[in-house]
């Protein structure tokens, strides 16, 4: 059974059909890509699966449990981690606080612990901090643990976001254009990180990407989305040579006169 299974998902914004009959099955440990021109509905699909919007039709199951209609935080705590295209970090918080925050749903000390600083709270928060530092070492942001995120360079901010998403202990990780606005050097670094996440943590990854180099190198299966519909699905080679995909990106090769 696939880890994440989306069946016949359709979504309307008012009268506009943003996504039509979308299907997805991600196996554990698999890396899948979603490509498509601007405005094709890629981020909408992310937002539908992560619960920010509720799909008009269709079913979504994560690890066998239906998740349509749950709050985003409930879906997240069931093991769906994500990053954002526009880097949604909390600008007044330190790197360490970011990564610790993603453990929110696992906190067991409750309000009593929070108000009175019980020893249980200190134990739990110490364990969370250890785990957070481990992930920050992995993402190479442990040396800036006490810095506010706004003081960091862009690449480091991306890695903080990654560490934060990993801290919630996800089963599957959604990456929304993880390399947007990056220099070639930062791009290679990010690719290494994604490979490391896949190999060391064995996570399934579902990513939206514009840089074809990245998609071709990382993904096992790629979907191409145009105007809310999947026009092609297959291995990188198949997608690269698919005439419909080439048409969607470059237009037809003959011009009617």
């Amino acid at each position: 059974m696939p880890l994440l299974h989306v069946e016949n998902m359709t979504h309307y914004f008012g009268g506009l059909r943003a996504v039509h009959n979308y299907n997805l099955a991600v196996e554990p440990g698999q890396v899948r890509g979603l490509i498509g021109p601007n405005g094709a509905g890629k981020t909408t699909i992310f937002n539908l699966i992560t619960g920010i919007y509720r799909p008009t039709e269709g079913s979504i199951t994560l690890d066998g449990e239906p998740i349509v209609g749950l709050q985003p935080h409930e879906i997240a705590s069931r093991g769906l981690g994500r990053t954002f295209q526009d880097l949604r970090l909390w600008r007044h918080m330190t790197v360490l606080e970011h990564v610790k925050m993603a453990r929110y749903s696992t906190i067991g000390y409750g309000l009593v612990g929070a108000f009175f600083g019980t020893s249980r709270r200190h134990r739990e928060e110490e364990a969370i901090e250890r785990k957070a530092l481990e992930l920050m070492r992995m993402m190479r942001v442990d040396d800036v643990a006490e810095q506010r995120v706004t003081n960091l360079p862009y690449g480091a901010q991306r890695r903080v976001e990654m560490a934060r998403a990993l801290a919630m202990n996800p089963k599957i990780l959604f990456l929304d254009e993880p390399t947007v606005g990056m220099t070639p050097g930062e791009l290679n670094e990010m690719m290494d990180i994604i490979k490391q996440v896949r190999d060391d943590l064995g996570l399934a990854i579902f990513l939206i990407e514009h840089r074809l180099k990245m998609v071709m190198e990382l993904c096992e299966v790629i979907q191409t989305l145009v105007f809310g519909e999947v026009i092609a699905e297959g291995s990188p080679e198949e997608i690269q040579n698919n005439p419909d995909v080439i048409e969607a990106y470059l237009g037809k090769d003959t011009v009617e006169t």
Binding site: H73, H92, M101, R103, Y104, I107, Y109, A114
Partner: protein
Amino acid sequence: MDTTKGDALENNVGFWKRIGRRITGIPLLAWILGILAAALVEQWVGYEFAELIGLPKIPVLFGALIVLKKKVWMQSPMMIPSTMLYVFSVYILVIGVVARVLAAPANRAAGGLMKMPLWISVLIHLGIFYTALHIWSDISAYRVITLKLTLIAIMVTLSLNVINGYMGEFSCSHPGFMALGAYAASAVTLIFFTNDRLFGAAVLPASLGPFVFPLALIIGGLVAAIGALVVAIPSFRTRGDYLAIISLAFMFIVKSVIENLEVVGGPRGMGSQPNYADLPTVFVWTVLCIWVINNFVRSILGKALNAVRDDEMAAEAMTVNTRKTKMVAFMFSAFWAGVAGGLFAHVIRFVNPGTFGIQKLAEVLAMVYFGGLNSVYGSILGAVSLNLLGEMLRPLEIFKWIIIPVMLILVMIYRPTGLIAFKDLDVKKLIRPR
């Protein structure tokens, strides 16, 4: 050779830098002991010293009330330098010298205290500090009431900061929560422990009163928290200015409901509360409030407020239950405003709905934004400074309402988030040896 060179350099350094260098090595313990020493000196020789330099009595609030009173400096201008001399020698000189002299032993003591459990050393610091405050306020009843009201202002400011600073929403209903707390707590003490015109004879023996008083305050807080729930349910569905508008409406509703409820005295208010809120009680509750709020905002559950403020969508995606977080924080904040209201009613020993109006709101908001958002230090500083300033500038009459707003505007221009914003209060760091 080297030392002389060093000395020469030393002489070139500016006055303030040298002062700064002398201050950095002094731990908090030495400062508190300095304050205690100043209070003791004032108690022992304050009156004689004041008489010696030609003051009629001990300057009650650092001399501001003397210096600023027009009648005084028109008739006897010598009062001004005398007052300044008094303030300088009794407070600044004594605190500075004692803190400096005790720096080394206090550092050793603080080092020893660090080895003990944190709460013991905190209690020792607080005990000495309270003793100093008590001795200082013993000089006059005016000092006692000013101190009590300042402590209560700290509680209200801090509780509002949880919403306006930590959570980044704009709440206007804190005077309403104070009113709910004040009336609920007063009702408990008046019904059970006093013979009064509204509720008739006492039900329980008055000797039980002081022991039940904390319970009355907690009931006041809980009533305020229930009021908060009424505001929170409609306003946290979406983000934006809803909370500001709904909470403002709530404040007015509370005020006019109380005005129209004859059971609690209507617009004439409710008086003759028993005198339970003495200085130690108010002090203990304020410390408790600071401690609990500081604990909360430094836990991950409390930091979730910052996450909600800075990016709610990201907070949701990182498993934070944002709606619950906001509701809990709002009710928690209202609870402390309610407790502060209950104390306020028992300090003044009279409440009327007019107290909890738009002017109170302006005062509290000013303290929050002046002191600093998202910071316990900031709230303490804002509440203490604006409250004391408000008292000290009283002789200026109308000009008081020009000076304080101008200060606020200056702070908003040069430090838009307040004097000490976005700073965690780490008790361990505060009391460590330096």
